[in-house]
């Protein structure tokens, strides 16, 4: 077993450095360690409730690690097979809980709190929550739909990262001779547009001046930001 573990390259997960205590069970199985690493990585990807923009390099490296784990798990078939009941959770529950971890990134924007499990699956993002009006302008991807929860989470994270970086309105403040800022505006709009039904949202994002301001029913915690957006959009 040890040989297999090292061949795969995953060293003992966070038990490295710990001494084996007498009578303790053997090192956790490789798949359990791998799962733990996956969980840890997804938690790390959560955009923290900090005021500063997250470190893109770190996020990319963690996301790549997550992808690697996922690929390996897919190859192993571990992704599809239901885990034995002993593990405590079925794969679907696990996938959902993963999604909730990633969903925390959206919650950061002030959207609804931890939703019910059933409603979280397909298309939930399309629901007209107060925050999603916000997402029309910034992310333009309410209707990405469900491609499989796992990759979706990664995509969501990157879109959130993306949205935090260039924004359509930023084009208004770009330097003369900075063609890429206009391109950013286009790209931000088109991210959602590329995958089909998001096209309308993309177009909306392209024309910030014409975008309707968020409705008055926005949540209080978004109110101030939306107010600022309103002012800028109407400028």
């Amino acid at each position: 077993m040890e040989g297999t573990m090292f061949a795969r390259g995953l060293k003992r997960k966070c038990w490295d450095g710990d001494e084996d205590v007498e009578g303790a069970p053997a090192a956790p199985s490789y798949s359990l360690q791998r799962q733990s690493l996956l969980d840890m990585s997804l938690v790390k990807l959560q955009l923290c409730h900090t005021l500063v923009e997250p470190n893109l390099c770190r996020s990319v490296l963690i996301a790549n690690t997550v992808r690697q784990i996922q690929e390996e798990m897919t190859q192993d078939g571990a992704w599809q097979l239901p885990a034995p009941p002993v593990a405590g959770r079925g794969p679907l529950d696990h996938l959902v809980s993963t999604e909730i971890l990633c969903r925390a990134a959206w919650e950061q924007q002030g959207q609804r709190p931890a939703p019910d499990l059933p409603s979280e699956l397909p298309g939930a993002l399309g629901a007209p929550a107060p925050g999603s009006a916000q997402s029309c302008i910034w992310e333009a991807d309410s209707s990405r739909g469900h491609r499989g929860s796992f990759p979706k989470s990664l995509d969501q994270i990157f879109e959130t990262l993306e949205s935090r970086a260039p924004s359509p309105v930023e084009g208004l403040f770009a330097d003369a001779g900075g063609p890429y800022y206009d391109l950013d505006a286009v790209l931000t709009g088109m991210v959602g547009g590329k995958s089909g039904p998001g096209g309308g949202d993309g177009l909306q994002a392209l024309a910030p001046a014409g975008a309707p301001p968020p409705s008055a029913s926005c949540k209080r915690d978004l109110g101030e930001l939306d107010h600022v957006v309103e002012i800028l959009v109407e400028t």
Partner: protein, 501 residues
Amino acid sequence: MVLQPSERHYRDWSHRRLGPWCSPTGSPAPLSCETGCGEGSWILVCRLLVPTQVSLLSMEEDIDTRKINNSFLRDHSYATEADIISTVEFNHTGELLATGDKGGRVVIFQREQESKNQVHRRGEYNVYSTFQSHEPEFDYLKSLEIEEKINKIRWLPQQNAAYFLLSTNDKTVKLWKVSERDKRPEGYNLKDEEGRLRDPATITTLRVPVLRPMDLMVEATPRRVFANAHTYHINSISVNSDYETYMSADDLRINLWNFEITNQSFNIVDIKPANMEELTEVITAAEFHPHHCNTFVYSSSKGTIRLCDMRASALCDRHTKFFEEPEDPSNRSFFSEIISSISDVKFSHSGRYIMTRDYLTVKVWDLNMESRPIETYQVHDYLRSKLCSLYENDCIFDKFECVWNGSDSVIMTGSYNNFFRMFDRNTKRDVTLEASRENSKPRAILKPRKVCVGGKRRKDEISVDSLDFSKKILHTAWHPSENIIAVAATNNLYIFQDKVN
């Protein structure tokens, strides 16, 4: 902000009690750069701390300013997070040493002039100028703070009496002019000596103002502000050898600027994918070639280095050379990519080599060989079995810098536990030294340190599990021509020199 260089608030005076030193044989030992760093000896010249207003306020007792400054360098730690040094850089002559910190301040130290009576005092640095370079900003559109932390400082070569440097935070680069003033005009007609306007009716004669000497004052003024050109966080700036342009690199793009023009920059590298979901690689560092103004390199989070020639095309998305070492399959793990991410890239002074730092190693590459590095040095390989824990506590993402000495014969980089390492490329010897208050008496020779990797621990060794991962040496600098090094350990700046100096 103006600081009198004669103010000695920031010096540690305790070393003055120690007498002169020499090597055990009584004759000066050869320079480290000639014999190799393993045989040379390093001594602490001074340890510098700069207090801030914030740290004064954070104290519990109410002590007056004078007492604070004098007692500052004793065992109190009044430093706050704003004092954490985030970049260190010598200027081209080594006369000045600039540091930037998390609070957006730049502090410039100047080398003590050689004097006949106190020859051994040469090599010490005193505060020359302090100024607030960047302020925290708030991006209202994204509801995000823009940190004022100084990511990099780069000096321009000196062309007149004033000194110029570039300093940057995540978003904005500034060109600062640091100049001395030792004369002031006196004898105005319309103002009196205190500067108050005089009643014109009282003026009966006219005189020409004259310049009179005054106490030396060092002023720092912002001459250019290069803003709004980076969507992502700036990680590098590099002055071109033409002294007219410089580049700034963020996670996905590199821009070329002319020093005279602040409202425009040319984008020369753009690795942002059309679809951000496809993003798997970012730019981590970039530098111009020291002599060829058309050539630069940039490193990536996947452990690759690209050399680009700006003559080839306006947008240098296609590299001229691509440096990558093939992966070692026996060492493969889920952390392989993370530890291969390059945190710093530096051209040698000769321009023939580049040095890269990844999490566990420093590598030297020959520009003429892209397939693999010509030299690889293990910085702290004992961490290889700890990668999972280091991933958990985020230490695996620490970005260590690396530096060449003036003759490109020795390279230096930092590690944990306030350790830093030097590798002599000629003798292949290496040494681990520590920058800490407890272990360095001024002018005492630094003792080499050793990490024990299992098995029996010898008396002076430290075991891997006892290493303090919160004490990391990320930023170091080497004097351009002499064996003087500056090592930043959190809020302390240590200056070490080779014994002979």
